[in-house]
């Protein structure tokens, strides 16, 4: 069945709202407006304003309220219109949500999901394009999910909502309209994807590409291109950033002996860095025939102009070139170009 990422998210929300009446959805424009990106379409009508709740534009306040409600036993899904705005509320996410179970030695649970689009959209410039995967994944107490496909969204959002710990669920605006051919099985109500497990989106023997969110499609496109020159890339969709499925990466690297990480966020202290370190510290290190390299967004705030924005985001070319370098294959003349 062909469904969009948006629809997968809406279905997941709908099913979990139906399943457990302690689940509520709150955020800016989630109710009357059906969500700024229409992810909560139709939910207000079905679940009434008691459970689908529009908030004022006060992230610190409503995120704190959501966390408090979770402490008291509700299971809130707190939408940030985009994760950029979660910075206003990040103290509540980290200090109140992530740390309370520990500080209370297990007596206060915080079953909450923070969700919304993360990372770069198109033409929205520096303040609306930040990727928060590495920031949140740095923090113990949180689980951090960054889905790629419709299947991921459906199976993982449901798992997130049922989870008893605070979960950060990083969507991608540019993926909402993307359609995925999704097995019927994945659309069943009891289909869950376990948090903490990656997925091999494509098998290959020559090199491993690890990515999350939209960057997975970049890897798949690169793999197609690489196939033409006889390189079979294995593409791992991380799905969860914390806890990360290092086993899957390690296993793959043991097979392919080469690794390139791919993400849209900033390079330094990002997701790729952690993967490098994990590999360095694992038995996979000895299997590496070349050092791990990263493909990432450029190390700049996001510019608005189209050609600059393009230069600030990773393209297939960056992946292909990095793979070639890693495999020590002569670079095309495009190499090093922006």
């Amino acid at each position: 069945q062909k469904i969009t990422v948006r629809s997968a998210l809406t279905r997941a929300l709908n099913e979990e709202l139906a399943r457990d009446e302690k689940v509520i959805l709150l955020g800016e424009e989630v109710a009357n407006y059906d969500g700024a990106y229409k992810v909560s379409q139709g939910l207000l009508e079905k679940y009434t304003e008691k459970r689908i709740i529009d908030t004022p534009i006060t992230e610190m306040g409503f995120a704190g309220i959501a966390v408090g409600a979770a402490m008291h036993g509700l299971r809130p899904i707190c939408e940030f219109m985009t994760f950029n705005f979660s910075m206003q509320a990040i103290d509540q996410v980290i200090n109140s949500a992530a740390k309370t179970y520990y500080m209370s030695a297990g007596s206060v649970k915080v079953p909450i999901v923070f969700r919304g689009p993360n990372g770069a959209a198109a033409g929205v410039a520096a303040q609306h394009s930040q990727c928060f995967a590495a920031w949140y994944a740095h923090c113990p107490g949180l689980k951090v999910i960054s889905p790629y496909s419709a299947e991921d969204c459906k199976g993982l959002l449901k798992s997130a909502i049922r989870d008893d710990d605070p979960v950060i669920f990083l969507e991608n605006e540019l993926m909402y309209n993307v359609t995925f051919d999704t097995p019927d099985e994945c659309l069943k109500e009891d289909y869950l994807i376990p948090i903490g497990k990656g997925k091999i989106e494509r098998e290959g023997n020559h090199i491993t590409l690890v990515a999350h969110s939209k960057a997975v499609s970049l890897c798949l496109d690169a793999a197609e291109e690489l196939k033409e020159i006889g390189i079979e890339a294995e593409v791992i969709n991380l799905r969860t950033i914390r806890p990360m499925d290092s086993e899957m990466i390690i296993k793959s690297v043991k097979k392919t002996n080469h690794l390139v990480t791919v993400e849209q966020g900033w390079p330094q202290f990002g997701v790729g860095a952690e993967i490098c370190a994990k590999i360095s510290e694992s038995e996979a290190f000895d299997y590496l025939d070349a050092p791990v390299v990263r493909v990432t967004g450029a190390d700049v705030p996001m510019p608005y102009a189209k050609s600059l924005e393009e230069a600030a985001l990773p393209r297939v070319m960056n992946v292909v070139n990095s793979v070639k370098k890693t495999l020590n294959i002569e670079q095309s003349s495009a190499a090093g170009r922006n």
Partner: protein, 364 residues
């Protein structure tokens, strides 16, 4: 006729200010001023129309928030501000960018991401700057403490200036606004907090976002004034009064300007699911800042309909030219992606591109 006197239609509402100490209800308008305000408001409106068209033809990317309907606020306020007074606002910034001195061309060029834009195409619709104009800020509420900070610097330097910090009715609930109020009052900063109440924050009406919709009173201990933002003369008078108050060292004020936005929240919002078309039409018919002012100019004989028509076509022409020029201007060279990250990069700093083999020297 070279001068006429007008009485404001909707009286000011005052908070912690006695009526006798408030702004006067009559305003004298010269012909010159009248034509100027008319031209400014009309320029902004037609510039936004051009922006709308550019967005439709996909020349503008991302978000684009039009100021259409709110022209009376920035034009009326600018009439009473000093050139070196500072202004800071949110993402609905085109009108203010124009009033703070940028050309229509530079604004449209920014909108289409060209190097001749106010921010050379790096900022886009939401991030425009100018002389004593501090943006164009995309995060709801953030510009309010920033504005108070600019006022702190003005006071520190004993400047005769004030800062106008603008925010919407939705933003008015942001905690940092109240933090800024508190500090501005404690430190007696020359800050004019201005809530442009256009009835909605995105799809949420004021009644659903705000436990009190009397935004001019929400500074609590800070005196406040409500002014009809659709009456450019009332706005001018209120701002003049506020300027005198603040410049005399009495500390901050909160001003609420009652206004309306005709378009959707941004270009991607049709703007009709949370309000009726007739509501919009009603405002257009009965309160529109430009038509109202036009009528006043004509009925007072400060200008003739013909004159205004000519001004209109002059503006149209100028905008058409600016538009054309903007679209044919180039974007920055791609290497400029890597400039302006730091104003003083450490010597030899290389900025990484999207892979390990693409780095550039950091340039300021």
């Amino acid at each position: 006729v070279t001068e006429a006197k007008f009485t404001i239609q909707y009286p000011y509402k005052l908070h912690l200010i006695e009526e006798k100490d408030g702004p006067k209800l009559d305003a004298v308008l010269t012909r010159e001023e009248g034509l100027k305000y008319y031209t400014e408001m009309q320029t902004i409106r037609l510039m936004e129309r051009a922006a709308s068209a550019l967005y439709q033809e996909k020349a503008i990317r991302g978000f684009c928030h039009l100021y259409t309907g709110q022209e009376g606020v920035c034009v009326g306020m600018s009439a009473s501000l000093k050139k070196d007074d500072a202004v800071i606002t949110a993402y609905r910034a085109h009108g203010w960018t124009y009033m703070k001195g940028s050309s229509v061309h530079a604004i449209l060029s920014e909108l289409v991401g060209r190097k001749t834009g106010v921010a050379k195409g790096k900022g886009g619709s939401m991030h425009m700057y100018g002389d004593q104009f501090y943006g164009g800020n995309g995060i709801v509420g953030a510009q309010v403490p920033l504005g108070a900070g600019i006022a702190l610097s003005q006071k520190f330097n004993n400047l005769p200036n004030l800062t106008v910090a603008l925010y919407g009715d939705g933003a008015a609930n942001q905690g940092q606004v109240f933090e800024a109020y508190n500090i501005a009052k404690l430190w007696n900063l020359p800050c004019l907090f201005v809530c442009e109440n256009n009835g909605y924050g995105m799809g949420t009406s004021i009644a659903r976002s705000s436990a009190s919709t009397s935004y001019y009173t929400r500074g609590d201990y800070i005196p406040g004034i409500w002014v009809d933002g659709m009456d450019v003369l009332a706005v001018r008078s209120a701002t003049e009064w506020a300027g005198e108050y603040i410049r005399s060292g009495k500390g901050p004020l909160v001003m609420e300007a009652g206004t309306y936005r005709y378009s959707g929240h941004s270009m991607s919002d049709p703007g009709t699911s949370y309000r009726t078309r007739s509501e919009i039409q009603e405002v257009r018919n009965t309160r529109d800042a430009i038509s109202g002012f036009k009528e006043r100019l004509i009925s007072s004989e400060l200008a003739t309909a013909q004159e205004l028509k000519e001004i209109d076509s002059q503006i149209r022409k100028e905008i058409e030219e600016a538009n054309h020029k903007a679209k044919s201007d180039p974007e920055l060279p791609v290497e400029e992606t890597f400039t302006n990250v730091y104003s003083s990069p450490t010597p030899g700093l290389e900025i990484r591109g999207c892979d390990n083999f693409t780095t550039r020297l950091a340039l300021p």
